[in-house]
């Protein structure tokens, strides 16, 4: 253990027999242990805000959602216990079924494509070239721009009559596309915006991780005759594993929670072709005023996200074992 690492890990009391200290010899409690207990208390004290936050804004609402999902509460003050009736009704609700499929499709398409593109861009931006700061900023701008503003601009781009997208297509000799006005093209059009908007955040994490890759390891690989692909595959890619895991989990959660983009651009239409789970939950809760029913949908969404995260962790685990 280097001196630096020893200094960084004093919280946990070291295991195994302790050397006798002056305090021990005087028959008092070991001083070191006393310090450790104080540190434990300090740790809990520092954790308290986070615990409070988690309790108030995560645990209590989650438990409330589970409870409400078994009621017919509709803001009227009167409610009844309905058991699993809401869940049974959801199974035959075409809006929910479409929202479920669309959300999964959205996640399956947007997460891997945006992760792949973000990694490629990060690799490109991890070079020492002139004007790199400009490109890094340019790729990050969509992330810091409000989704409503992004959606409004894309609404204009996708306008079938006077939009930029059809203008560009006609320049290359293609006919006009309905984009958001057709059930066949609306969801893919939204996915494209989702991919574009999410690139910056993922890219910056990959870029930070790439810059943390040990220079010595890269140089060693190069000295051993590894080409750029081999260096990436055997040195950089394994080093990116923690970043990959973080990006994967946040991307899955983010795509499952897609709402504002859909709300502003299509409201779930045409028909229900772009209905997604959070929008459907919102519609049931605040437009249809059925909070119990919407809570049942929320519970299903929580389970769905959990499944995706578990699958993601398993995949990450298999990467590590390799």
């Amino acid at each position: 253990m280097t001196p630096a690492s020893a200094a960084e890990s004093p919280i946990v009391a070291p295991a195994g027999p302790q050397k006798p200290t002056a305090a021990n010899r005087r028959g008092g409690r070991p001083k070191r242990r006393s310090v450790t207990r104080k540190q434990v208390w300090a740790g809990w004290l520092l954790l308290t805000p986070a615990l409070l936050h988690s309790t108030l804004f995560i645990s209590v609402p989650t438990l409330a959602a589970v409870f409400l999902s078994m009621t017919d509460y509709s803001f009227s003050g009167e409610w009844a216990w309905v058991g699993f009736d809401n869940f049974i009704e959801l199974m035959s609700d075409q809006n929910f079924k479409t929202a479920f499929v669309n959300t999964v499709l959205y996640a399956i398409v947007v997460v891997p494509i945006s992760m792949g593109l973000a990694l490629v861009i990060a690799l490109g931006l991890n070079q020492k070239l002139r004007g790199m700061a400009f490109f890094r900023t340019a790729f990050y701008i969509p992330t810091v721009t409000a989704t409503v503003a992004v959606a409004t601009v894309w609404l204009w781009i996708y306008n079938p009559g006077a939009g930029l997208a059809n203008g560009a297509l006609s320049f290359f000799g293609f006919g006009p596309q309905p984009f958001l006005n057709s059930p066949d093209t609306a969801l893919p059009s939204l996915m494209l915006v989702g991919i574009w908007q999410g690139l910056g955040a993922k890219m910056i994490i990959y870029l930070a991780a790439l810059q943390g890759v040990s220079r010595e390891l890269v140089e060693a690989a190069e000295l051993d005759g590894a080409n750029r692909w081999q260096t990436f595959k055997h040195v950089k890619w394994p080093a990116l594993a923690p970043a990959q895991f973080f990006v994967l989990i946040t991307s899955i959660v983010g795509t499952f929670q897609v709402y504002d983009l859909v709300y502003v651009m299509t409201r779930g239409g045409p028909g229900i072709s772009t209905n997604v789970l959070v929008l459907d939950i919102y519609n049931n809760a605040f437009q249809g005023m059925r909070l119990g029913y919407a809570s049942a949908e929320t519970v299903i969404m929580i389970l769905l996200i959990s499944v995706f995260i578990i699958v993601g962790r398993k995949l990450q685990g298999s990467d590590k074992s390799e």
Partner: protein, 424 residues
Amino acid sequence: MKKNSLKVMAMSVGLGLALAACGSASAPSTSTDDPATATGSLRVMIPTYPLSNEGKAEFQKVVDDFNKTYPKMTIEPDFVTYDTMNEKISTSIASGSGYDVLVTGIGWIQPFAAKKVFKDLADVGISKADISTKTADAMVPAVTHDEKVYGYPLIADARAVAFRKSAFIEAGLDPEKPPASMAELKEAAEKLTKRDASGAITRPGFDFWAASGAYRQTFTTFLASTGTPLFVDGKPNFNNADGVETLEWMKGMINNVQTFGQMNSAKKPLVYTNEAPIGMVGGAVDCSDQGIGQANCDDLSFFLLDNGTKAEFVGGDIASIGAKTKNAKAAWTFIESLIKPEANNAQAKLNSKIPATKDTAKTGQAQSNPLSKFVAANLSHAAYEGGASNWLEVRKSFNSGLDEALLGKRPAEEVLSSLAALSK
């Protein structure tokens, strides 16, 4: 150590719950029977006044008028939009700090009356006869539920069909004989539609003035023109031959005379700017230079759809009293300030609507422009949506269902049957 951890966690949870309990307490609203000494505040949710300087100034006039009777009471306005209205109402109910006065729209009354969110106006001495005497007849059914009155109409959002006389002359159509039936309208629209060499529509022959997911009100209007209202006594009345025929007709128009969901960037009727020769329009048009200009106005003429029955779609703003208010009398006094002619006319002007009064045709707003004059004169042909006690829930399904039928994804009959099954 485990014991200590549990202690800390228990303390944290306890503190959290205590904080939560503090946070849920609502501000008290006090009052007495005597208006002159009554204190406290009145929470008002209202979409009628836009958050512009003009809107705020007009609202302040209403508050000033109210304060003449209740000088010590304050008004807490919540200027909402129709998009956020249900969230505001539901969260206010859930938090236990409901509004004293709620201004909602046609279609809201029955569902919220059924949920006991609105107070029966008989409690403040208002009967159905009072409403019938003072407001447009067309608005009376929209504010009643189970023969009780739950709202007072403020302004009417009446809509007509407009056409460009010059476009008619150019296409060899008689501007003195505008189409009225669905068949005539389709024939004229097809004749007036312009296309490029590839067949793509460059100018729609008819403008539905509806984005994707917003064809519900147009369907209601066309259906009513066949003599078939959307609901009768709260029961669905659209899953029949007239409903299917109307929806099929609309489907025949979509992507034939106008692409689905086409709107301009300002979301204004295309007929105003000569982007379409015929189309649906709202209840007022600004003929000044700040609006569409006098030349455009002079080129416009208006008519109602008539497939046996003339139909003019009417929405509107309706003032209700919250069922749990402790200041019902003050709330009613505030509504009285809202319905005074000057305030009422200002509301109509701010929203491009017309006052919902019995004498609406004589009001300043109705006389100020040709479209308001037309819709005010025809208010007796009103067709409105809603009626089912779960209309707010059905409404969103209506939007998506109609889209699916219009785009050929589901048969019209199947869509209307499923919507009828949803309606309670």
